[in-house]
Symmetry: none
Subunit: 415 residues, 2 copies
């Protein structure tokens, strides 16, 4: 049976464009990758009548309806109330929900207040979906042949509860269909149009390929379907092999890992340590690297030398060099890389300097001019010049990605 | 008259989460800032029946319906066809549309092909909305008391045609209407439920208050309406004053600025400089501060001392202290703050150490234990201990926010 799915997201912050609707796009991605089709998506603000209208419409055209948001403790959290009215039942205190909230609060040394208690009032007869990731419980009701899942709007909680409750139930609902496998291939260093050119003609029966720009990366969502899981798996492995042979080292991940995770795995596998001296990225390289659990095993030290004095004093970049070439130059980033490597006794030193803008550009060195330097036994001391376009934050981000990519290339014998 | 607005966006790339629905979020923002409320938003893929269902539903609940996408020349562009069927009229070649397409193409030295010509078939009796920004003409029809605007999905064209046709017509449609002012109040340091408790009973006529959890901050969107802009402005100023008096220095922004911008403005206004020594935040404090253009005026230097050696060698934290108290301790973060302040000759030094997890916790110092230290002439040397919950990235983020808040409090005479 084909399940007709509708997603309803609620919240004034969505209607007013304040917040991107990430619960919807995440759900669309996950459901598509599992071979489902989302037919309808409705967004409404925190208005009783509008939420109600959305539920009525969805019950008439969908088999499974996923509703996000409005389960919190504040007065504009109306979803449970509207759901009860929609079902023709009263709200009542759900003891299972109370105890799950109490348990959650007690772990943080807090007690149940009336406000938290409000979250435990659910439509009579509804099934509680225990929220292990936050205080607002979810619930599920059936009405008019459709099943409704009401989940909290906080993305982390929404996603965890989709994984825990909704996806397994949807899988059980469909029968006698193809098995689906999916893979996310992450690339960095080529624009989307160039990726598309390199992959021209790669399409084949049973494979669906979707592009997703995820600045500054380009991701490919590959979905394979076959009569058995094994068949779908073989199909996708073969396809991924072809993608790799066409895109080479621009592919940095096929198992969901981030760029900093991929770089960290290489450092760990080779038993090497890293230190970073950052100017224009302002700490972003170190921040990304240290987002990875256990990164203290290979990341020793970072220096953010925003001023020339600190480049000189801490990193030992010669004053004459700063005067002659300027802080944004090949010799200076190489000296920064060597300086931070020496300072921390790391195997690899990386140094970055550039003009992130919006101010500070000159005709010779416009905004977006960036140098990345590297010092390692294997690759020696070297640097590369870039010219990036975009906002200050985009330039910081793309620079940090190039630095990570540079580090990975040491291990791929490219530097 | 109050105009009930619905936005319908179409396209498979939206349903599969591959593309963010920027036409919707842009429209929501523009319409809200002009005092309109978008009541409903529906997204459907490129399926005839689904688009049709969305039009029928919208005609029953809205006065003005804005439809984006599906007007191009390819076989999955179905919107005009579905709109004709929905109106009960045939598609016919619209000569005004033909000439506008021809004009557009001739400017680029191209001639009308059958494929372009397809785009000039519009529902009989519809009003052409000439597209000066691309080839696909828009059109407008009325049905069941509602007016429908069909616009191309390319964001640049969609936005230009909203500005040119839709917004002026919507402005004319509302009469004797209230003027609207809106404000975003950002708070940090209280959970959403505590903010709600403190604001209990603050509601008043003409004011609408919406909460938005934006981890680790809580934002309040306040919208005021009055007979004149001045009246709405006074209403909102008075309300914001009440919010401030109830929430005190937990409010850090009322003009959209981020926490790092707010901290930066205070530093700049007082002519003071800052340096940061980070352990568990791994560069995030510096990254946030340097996201602000011009931050090099007040941010001098950062040191990410992930190892004890670098705490000792660069920041001058005594080895005995590290051994006696451990790296995650009050004396050490105070010594880090003083060390980085001395190193960079800054007015304020901040030092952070903690256990971001998931590993590294002990019974005495579980994951989430964080110390933040500060050294400034005004506040002297001091530190605070925290126990945070969450993932590694959440602990890094909330720690960096507390550090920024700590810096701001120096200027608010709280430290």
């Amino acid at each position: 049976m084909c399940v007709r799915i509708e997603i309803i997201t609620t919240g004034d912050e969505l209607m007013s464009g304040l917040t991107q609707d990430s619960n919807f796009s995440w759900s669309g991605d996950v459901l598509t990758s599992r071979g489902f089709t989302v037919e309808f998506h409705t967004t409404v603000g925190d208005y009783r009548d509008d939420i109600s209208s959305a539920l009525v419409v969805a019950s008439e055209r969908a088999d499974a309806v996923i509703v996000s948001g409005g389960l919190g403790p504040t007065p504009d959290d109306l979803t449970a109330e509207v759901a009860a009215e929609f079902s023709g039942v009263p709200l009542e205190l759900n003891m299972r929900a109370v105890s799950s909230i109490e348990e959650r609060l007690s772990k943080r040394g807090r007690v149940l207040t009336d406000i938290n208690r409000k979250q435990a009032f659910l439509p009579r007869g509804s099934r509680v979906l225990v929220n292990h990731w936050g205080t607002a419980p979810g619930f599920s009701i059936e009405k008019g042949g459709a099943v409704f899942y009401f989940l909290p709007g906080v993305p982390k909680e929404f996603r965890a509860m989709m994984d825990e409750y909704v996806l397994p139930e949807l899988e059980r609902k469909r029968t006698g269909r193809k098995k689906v496998r999916s893979m996310l291939i992450k690339t960095f260093g080529l624009p989307e149009s160039e990726v598309a050119v390199r992959l021209e003609g790669i399409e084949r029966e049973g494979i669906r390929l979707g592009y997703r720009a995820h600045f500054p990366e380009v991701h490919l969502r590959v979905t394979a379907s076959g009569d058995t899981g094994e068949e779908a798996g073989k199909l996708i492995e073969g396809f991924a092999g072809d993608v790799r042979s066409r895109l080479g080292s621009y592919v940095f991940s096929t198992e969901g890992e981030t760029m900093e995770e991929a770089a960290g795995m290489l450092l760990r596998r080779h038993g090497m340590t890293l230190a970073a001296a950052e100017s224009c990225t302002g700490g972003l390289i170190a921040h990304r690297i240290t987002n990875v659990p256990g990164s203290s095993d290979y990341f020793l030290e970072g220096v953010i030398s925003y001023s020339n004095e600190s480049k000189e004093k801490i990193l030992g970049v010669p004053r004459d060099m700063l005067i002659e070439y300027g802080a944004v130059s090949a010799p200076v980033v190489e000296a920064m890389a060597s300086g931070v490597r020496r300072l921390s006794d790391a195997d690899i030193g990386v140094g970055v300097s550039g003009i992130a803008g919006p101010g500070g550009g000159t005709p010779e060195k416009p905004v977006g001019t960036v140098f990345i330097g590297m010092d390692s036994d294997k690759g020696g001391v070297r640097s590369e010049k870039f010219l990036f376009h975009g906002t200050r934050e985009e330039i910081k981000l793309v620079t940090s990605s190039h630095a990570l990519s540079f580090i990975m290339q040491i291990f791929l014998n490219k530097v």
